[in-house]
Amino acid sequence: MWYASRATGVVALLLLTAVMILGLLVTRQGRLPGLPRFAVSGLHRNLSLLAAVFVVIHVLTAVFDGYVDIPITASVIPFTSPYERFWLGLGAVSLDLMLAAIVTSLLRRHLSRRAWRAVHLLAYLSWPVAWVHSMFSSGDLQHGVLLILAIGCAAAVVGGAAWRLIAAARDVPRAERVSVQMSAVHQQPEETTSR
């Protein structure tokens, strides 16, 4: 069970990385080759639920395995585990933030856009915390192929976030977007003020 816990942990990290990058794409209305825009957000949602399943298995297997003593409460209440108190605490913090994002997304219809977005932004905190937790809770990721994988994940998310910031800075101001679209679809841009 201990090995199952570590393996699902690694898979969860990979999935969460994919979810992060898809989320960054969704915010900028980016596209993936061969997929329409709405499919990107659908993929983001489905992968996040899949990642949540792996995280839950990762946590439960660690708790119920007798190899080390981790109380179930320590999986959600940070810094209460006798084993690796700090690094597991980070895992609990990340899990709590993740749960908040998932629950608010499932209830999104009943929330204001601002409230939902505020909670969803916590993902930017959740992922790095999860990454640090992965790196230092056990030595698995600290050498070999898994180290390269972990660094690759970090590089991908940092790169994605940078792309998002640049894309946001290049944004057309809201009031000018329609004119830009209108001249783009009419072959010869027409006079708009002549009427």
Partner: protein
């Protein structure tokens, strides 16, 4: 004629012979048709019948069956009750807003009402404020009518202040000349100092509107009806109209020269009678630019109430009924309007921002006889793709308008695809406001 002094210049027709009681809202057409001052207004309608306690008026409004006259026809008592309830629950004092920002370029009835009967609207604003326990009120109207209407409204407010008629202070606020400026979340955003763009709901503004307090927004005509129901009772209100849709409403008709004609009619009036000498020859536009085109033959058998119009896919809306003159092309008219509507997108939601310009471009090709074999199918598909996918109903209303044109003018579209057009006049008929938004300032 009164209205010749107002910018748009149209007429208002009063007195529908067979329904002796009308007009209710507009003053009887007299010499010059001057707006009555407060004294004349009170002489005709009597004093403001304050109920002295919040909530009391709501029962009367429910019995009267008054619905919103801004186009959505939402039951007024339910909105009043929602604001009153939210105010009590959240311990916040509500604000009431009279919405005179008539967004439909084809409609002129709110401007006409404010011009001819400002005191009736302001009475309704006071009574609605009392009904929901509000301590402030705002009268919101279009800035582009400022040089005459704004002055008149300021005078009316001053008169009331001097006479001590108002219990709640009323501020006048001006809307930017945008199609969406009257949409209620856009209105709240604008009054809070931001651009007049629709917001995502929830929260509903009856829950959290101006300064986070429950906010009641009612169309100015709705408030005028409310002021009369408060005085004369629900039974009087129901004396005209149909059972499910009682009362009267202001309708805007357009003559072939484009000038508006405002008339107060009972709900359920046959469109044939309403149009009178403007009998439909080719097609009728119902409900304005978010409305529906119907073939003349179909419209001739219908009446001005939602029960009659619903099977035809149309709605009463804000009472716009326009007969397309026989010498104009419905496709060209529609293309002009769709282009305008695309420019009026707030640019917030992807489907509206990307979809409407594309729909407008394709419709322009159809109107100019340069469409391809797939243009109509594309238009139909895109109209389906944008529907229901915005923060507000701008994409939905535009899609409805486009689809009804494709059906109503199908034969004309066939002709256009063969390079012909049946119109003999190229002069645009449906009114299109000048200028589109270029910068954030145009939305403020």
């Amino acid at each position: 004629m009164t209205t010749a002094t107002r910018q748009g210049s149209g007429d208002h027709v009063s007195g529908m012979g067979e329904t002796g009681e009308l007009p209710r809202l507009l003053p009887p057409a007299g010499p010059g048709g001057q707006a009555p001052d407060l004294t004349a207004h009170l002489a005709r309608h009597g004093r403001l019948p304050y109920r002295e306690r919040p909530g009391v008026l709501i029962g009367d409004i429910e019995q009267a069956g008054l619905t919103g006259r801004g186009g959505a026809a939402f039951p007024v008592h339910r909105k009043l009750a929602a604001v009153l309830e939210a105010a009590g629950r959240r311990g916040k004092t509500p604000t009431v807003i009279a919405n005179g920002a008539e967004s439909e370029p084809a409609s002129d009835k709110d401007a006409m009402l404010l011009w001819l009967a400002p005191h009736l609207v302001l009475d309704g604003l006071q009574l609605a404020a009392e009904a929901v326990g509000a301590d402030s009120a705002i009268l919101y109207t279009h800035a582009d009518r400022e040089h005459d209407l704004g002055l008149r409204l300021r005078q009316a407010l001053l008169e009331r202040q001097v006479a001590g008629a108002d219990r709640v202070p009323v501020q006048l606020a001006l809307a930017p000349p945008r199609f969406l400026a009257g949409q209620e979340t856009a209105l709240v955003s604008h009054l809070a100092g931001g651009p007049a763009i629709p917001a995502f709901t929830p929260p509903r503004i009856t829950e959290r509107g101006m300064a986070g307090a429950p906010t009641l927004v009612q169309n100015v005509e709705t408030l005028a009806h409310l002021a009369l129901i408060a005085r004369r009772g629900p039974g009087w209100f129901r004396a005209v109209g149909t059972g499910p849709e009682p009362g009267s409403m202001l309708a805007t008709i357009r003559r072939p020269d484009g000038r508006p004609r405002i008339t107060e009619v009972p709900l359920g009036m046959p469109l044939r009678d309403l149009l009178g000498d403007l009998a439909p020859e080719s097609a009728v536009l119902l409900g304005g630019y978010h409305g529906t085109w119907l073939p003349a033959a179909r419209a001739a058998g219908l009446s001005l109430d939602n029960r009659s119009l619903a099977p035809a896919g149309a709605r009463v809306g804000a009472g716009v009924v326009i007969s397309l003159p026989a010498d104009r092309c419905g496709l060209v008219e529609t293309a002009n309007v769709v282009r305008y509507l695309a420019f009026e997108s707030a640019g917030q939601c992807g489907p509206c921002l990307n979809g409407l310009p594309r729909i407008a471009a394709a419709f322009a090709e159809l109107a100019r006889g340069r469409s391809g074999p797939r243009t109509r199918a594309d238009l139909e598909r895109w109209a389906g793709l944008v529907t229901g996918r915005g923060a507000c109903h701008h994409p939905d209303g535009t899609a409805r308008f486009v689809r009804s044109a494709l059906v109503t003018f199908a034969a004309e579209a066939d002709r256009h695809e063969r390079g012909r057009c049946s119109a003999t006049s190229a002069r645009p008929f449906l009114p299109i406001p000048a200028g589109s938004a270029r910068t954030e300032k145009d939305w403020m």
